[in-house]
């Protein structure tokens, strides 16, 4: 469309400025010499040094990383199974309840989910720590994974699976050799989403963790409650940097693949 007007330009500029200026400020001030985060006192990377010397932060980061890896992996397995059930299993008793339980956690306030899970863990006498946080994160993340994977499965040409069966695969082989490789991008983005959600979660982790396992968001939250600190700015900058690099890489790769695929398809059509 060549109807891009000045109004569109203004709303895009304003909208993206709103989204990005706070983050840019955050990153900028992480390199501030001064302890006072609102006064610029020259460039310095000393807060990064401070951060890496702070054992409490490093411990929390390690806990968070472990929780995120375990819970996202588990959530990906369970979520993919759930997606497969939702799209392929047809009718079975309790299907409505099942799909309800898949979608409900997506809109459930974290405070309720956290409270409910905590009361469960106390009820069954499970000691709170890394394990309980992993269980909690797996539960809500598997629902996100299942939404991502099921939307891919819904557009998956079912005759591909039938062709695999027809050519002698058992149903399990058909899934492993045909379905899984094809839906792999969706499964991977489901895993990444689950991983990010786990890294990000404050509320549910606060409810379900014990004193032995403080996650990074809990640590950050208790630090920033007292006000802005340059060390947190440094930490935020690192996290923003990782995410930005990841998202840009992913979109460059997917764009390049798309362009290549289109070019090859055109070439194939011309060659006919």
């Amino acid at each position: 469309m060549n109807r891009f007007s000045w109004f569109n330009a203004v709303s895009l500029t304003f909208g993206f400025a709103f989204l990005y200026i706070p983050m840019i400020i955050l990153v900028t001030y992480s390199f501030n010499e001064s302890k006072l985060v609102t006064v610029w006192a020259g460039f310095s990377t000393k807060w990064y040094g401070e951060l890496f010397r702070d054992q409490a932060f490093l411990d929390a980061a390690w806990v968070t990383l472990r929780v995120a890896v375990f819970s996202s992996t588990l959530a990906t397995i369970l979520g993919t199974m759930a997606a497969y059930v939702l799209i392929r299993a047809g009718r079975f008793t309790g299907r409505t309840l099942f799909s309800g339980m898949i979608y409900a956690p997506l809109v459930m306030p974290d405070v309720i989910t956290g409270l409910a899970l905590l009361l469960l863990f106390i009820g069954v006498g499970l000691d709170r720590g890394v394990l309980t946080v992993v269980l909690a994160h797996t539960t809500f993340a598997m629902c996100y994974v299942s939404v991502v994977v099921s939307s891919r499965l819904a557009t998956f040409d079912q005759s591909l699976e039938e062709a695999a069966l027809d050519l002698g695969c058992s149903p399990a082989q058909a899934f492993r050799l045909v379905t899984l490789p094809i839906i792999a991008p969706a499964v991977i983005s489901g895993w990444l989403l689950a991983f990010t959600l786990s890294l990000d979660d404050l509320v549910i982790a606060s409810f379900t963790t014990g004193p032995s396992a403080t996650t990074l968001p809990i640590k950050i939250f208790s630090a920033v409650r007292l006000g802005v600190s340059p060390e947190i700015n440094a930490l935020s900058t690192i996290m923003i940097g990782i995410v930005t690099a990841g998202v840009i890489t992913a979109s460059v790769i997917s764009k390049r693949n798309m362009v290549r695929q289109r070019r090859e398809e055109q070439a194939a059509a011309r060659a006919q």
Partner: protein, 293 residues
């Protein structure tokens, strides 16, 4: 057999870790607070039997919620904060989505990435970013004083205004994405047809573009309103003690007052309030799916 296993595993997981916990919340909301571990009675025991246990349950906590004005004020203010923030997000999000949909083809992937990027960035960090901007000596006040618009620093942090800004900021991608996808699907020749039939550009926008993006607008509004209603991080970091929101009340009831039965009752009521928008949202999604067919 294989199918049974496939269904049973995720099903059992969700029953055990999603559904059963809610019944526990419901049960504890009907119990009484006690100085014990865990801090509520009655505890269920097989010796007394189920009837004795049920007899001790009551609606006392819910009665308490209606009597203490703190709670219903918190619910009301949560609904109004979430509602107003949703409208503000729509006001900023719609032009942004519209601009994206009309941007040249080759920009779109990049613009899309720019919308998704904050979505992958830590929520907590994005809320935190505003603390330094909105505080008394923060950058916004410094900027406004430098321009001469104000002479005294404004009190923004620790007021509801900061909460609005925080919600709009963190939930903006949730508003933009569904509206953008609705606008992107729209056939460009529809506008040309409307103009050909005598519409001005503005009336073509109102009569064609807006109705066709209706499902996207509704989806976006619910995606902002529902999580904003139970929000905890934003009011506690940006809202200060003056902002009452139910997520924060629940948190404090649980962690500070250690009153588990009342915290559970607060959760039950919040859940009941949420049922309405969730059902409406679900219906809108189904309509949209059917329309897409």
């Amino acid at each position: 057999m294989r199918k049974f296993f496939l269904i049973a595993v995720p099903y059992a997981w969700l029953l055990a870790l999603f559904l059963i916990p809610f019944f526990i919340v419901l049960k504890i909301s009907l119990s009484d607070v006690a100085l014990a571990r865990p801090p509520y009675v009655p505890q269920f025991s097989w010796d007394d039997g189920i009837m004795a246990f049920l007899r001790d349950l009551d609606f006392e906590n819910f009665v308490f919620l209606t009597e203490d004005s703190l709670y219903w004020k918190a619910y009301l203010s949560s609904v109004s904060i979430a509602g107003l923030s949703t409208i503000l997000t729509l006001t900023i999000g719609y032009p942004l989505a519209y601009g994206m949909a009309r941007a040249p083809e080759e920009w779109r992937a990049t613009l899309m990435m720019l919308i998704i990027l904050p979505f992958w960035t830590s929520f907590l960090i994005r809320v935190y970013a505003w603390m330094g901007i909105l505080s008394q000596e923060g950058l916004l006040n410094q900027f406004l004083m430098w321009t001469g618009l104000i002479s005294e620093p404004l009190m923004i942090l620790n007021t509801p205004t900061a909460v609005y800004i925080g919600i709009v900021y963190t939930y903006l991608p949730f508003m933009v994405l569904p509206i953008y996808s609705a606008l992107d699907r729209m056939d460009g020749s529809l506008i040309e047809a409307a103009e050909d039939l005598g519409c001005s550009r503005l009336s073509a926008f109102w009569l064609v573009t807006v109705p066709l993006s209706r499902n996207g607008i509704i989806a976006g509004c619910f995606l902002v309103f529902i999580p904003a209603l139970g929000e905890f991080v934003i009011p506690s970091l940006l809202g200060g003690s003056g902002t009452l929101m139910i997520g924060k009340v629940l948190w404090e009831e649980f962690f500070s007052n250690r009153d588990w039965p009342v915290a559970s009752a607060v959760a039950v009521i919040l859940l009941l309030i949420l049922v309405i928008p969730i059902v409406l949202f679900q219906r809108n999604q189904q309509d949209a799916e059917e329309a897409a067919k």
